[in-house]
Symmetry: C2
Amino acid sequence: MGARAGIVVTGTEVLTGRVSDRNGPWLAEQLRTLGVDIAGTLVVGDRPADLRWALRSLRDLGVDLIVTSGGLGPTADDLTGEIVAQEQGRPLRLDAVLEERIGAIVADLMARRGWTVSAEATALAVRKQALVPAGASVLGPAGTAPGLVVPIGSGVGPPVVVLPGPPWELQRLWPAAVADPAVLRALADRTELRQETLRLWNTPESEIAETLRELSGRLEGLEITTCLRAGELEVVTRFEPAAQATYDGLVAAFGTAYGGRLFSVDGGTVDDLVAAGLQARGATVATAESCTAGLLAGRLTERAGSSDWVRGGLVVYSNDTKVDLAGVPAALLDRVGAVSAEVALALAQGARERLGADVGVGITGIAGPGGATEGKPVGLVHLCVDAAWGRRSERVVLPGSRHDVRARSVGLAMHLLREVLAP
Amino acid sequence: MGARAGIVVTGTEVLTGRVSDRNGPWLAEQLRTLGVDIAGTLVVGDRPADLRWALRSLRDLGVDLIVTSGGLGPTADDLTGEIVAQEQGRPLRLDAVLEERIGAIVADLMARRGWTVSAEATALAVRKQALVPAGASVLGPAGTAPGLVVPIGSGVGPPVVVLPGPPWELQRLWPAAVADPAVLRALADRTELRQETLRLWNTPESEIAETLRELSGRLEGLEITTCLRAGELEVVTRFEPAAQATYDGLVAAFGTAYGGRLFSVDGGTVDDLVAAGLQARGATVATAESCTAGLLAGRLTERAGSSDWVRGGLVVYSNDTKVDLAGVPAALLDRVGAVSAEVALALAQGARERLGADVGVGITGIAGPGGATEGKPVGLVHLCVDAAWGRRSERVVLPGSRHDVRARSVGLAMHLLREVLAP
């Protein structure tokens, strides 16, 4: 096996779930593309003993590199620099040049925000962030806290890359971290590991298990993992370049077994396919959402440039906005109720017409936990995608929480859009 | 120190960031409310050696309980049950009664989805999920995979609670897990640990550091962590009941030091305060969003019952929808441009008027990475909240990625709403 790395995410706020961690996954993906395997990610709170344990566990596992995120701020619970310095056997020293640079950054920040903090408090905060383990490299800073590369002081052990917690700061310091000589040496053994993803729609995991069993003996050198989420099934395979032909055989076998349900073999997501479909047709899209209340429009505009194909949308959370904004006939609402196939279609058509779009999407459902009526349970959602060249409607009863029902409805709408936009 | 637990989240899809982990944070919060401290969360891929390492690292740390999530499905990469059985010294055995129950659940699921999988493949999938370590308790199942409580077979070590990966299944099995006698014994030492949160708006972390330094000597028995995100600063304090008076003193000192910037002392979020403010006034809200494109409407409708105060919204992503849907004068757009204080106000007023709401919110900005013009950089966002009794407008230049700019704009809009709705 080639080079392996471990990730330590610090912060009681991450451990307890008040903040969801974006750094661990981002770092894992960056390391993977470099050909470095990830052993694991450890999330620990802002406590010295727990942080020490995380560093030692990864060292005991024999990883070649440790990357940490967080714990570099000015408050007393920010202690990553200090603990890493101790664990690597390198005492902290004040870097006077760095202190001056951070001081200038902080002064500028304070001025722009109109913040007033005493000179003494500012000087203490700056000094804390300018303490550097002896023999460590300094990265940045991007924000106010610099990153560090801290080689082991004596004996044998992996270098530790120390990065700040705010994702954009961490991401800006990353290129300098991987260009550091100590990091390059640690990752000398990295090997190209390809990763490819197949995506299937509306397919049970047990069917994939059967297909893989039928192929057993023809999967040598492939590490295959499957993951089901929001109706999509992802089959991710990692392999060394020598196994490319074996992987190609797997893809061909899946194509035969699953046909159109295998909607992506090149890593493209449903979002990619919807954006590409709209661009290929030169078409625009508009939404009229009830239970998802803007989340589909938010998703369609996640990518830069989406203003070329997204016209906009209507959030019709109350019945009278369905009538006033989307033009759903009041009599229809009275007759079949807001959560119905007829209203989903009327919403899709209303979005098209009112926003002058080529494709309209209507979503109406009961996200729960309240709102169920006779024959209309929580989780019932009607969706419709309407275009001049085709239409797809769907009625589903989705399991899970209010959050799950809304998120799955958005995912399902994306797949209906994909199908209507398919060449 | 009282009882401590460790969490192991399995799944290559989580480790590599294709799926963001919701189980680790949820479990940490559940354990905390039980009075159990969390040592750390380890995320590992679907590999036997890495899963073993995670279990052993937590055992070496001396935790009283280990909880795992994921790896209980029917495919070959689902191996948590098997590895935990080996590590706890308890061989797997087929539970015939369980096999029959899972078989019935799977048959029902297949019928409802209209899936056809061979009887042999189904039987194999069912059998794999009905293998139970000798002497373990079975939890559920909620979906198809049961949870397990696996005590150590011989020697000394913590019991391992094995839960399925889908969040709603894991959450449904949790009450049975914590009622299990082996778990109750393991957590006998748990102690009440209170956790309270202060939330501040528009406050630098260095100012908090100074306040805490000034209070040093009066913080005995408090474990304080601070976390900055999207303009909000959270100060979370954990303490045993005996330190309640000390904590009350901290709250009083913060009240004096920060005044209105300390917007929450009872754990309430800005979302709570906006919902309560709308309910207290009997007011309704509507949105007109450009760069955030529905995300604010989506956030306002996250909570059950929000249909009582959310009318709906307009996603006005293109200039002509700003005119047609929200009634922004075309001449105004020509004169000052779409990203301007004037258009933010016109959007807020248009949302109020077109949707018949008491409060309107307008957001227009440049999320990037493209779209910057002379004097209007990426990250420039104008927001306005307009009501009969008051108005708040704000111009900001937000740092970070397209995702960050949109997310921060939504957070800022929530705070402007909070201010306009304040009693």
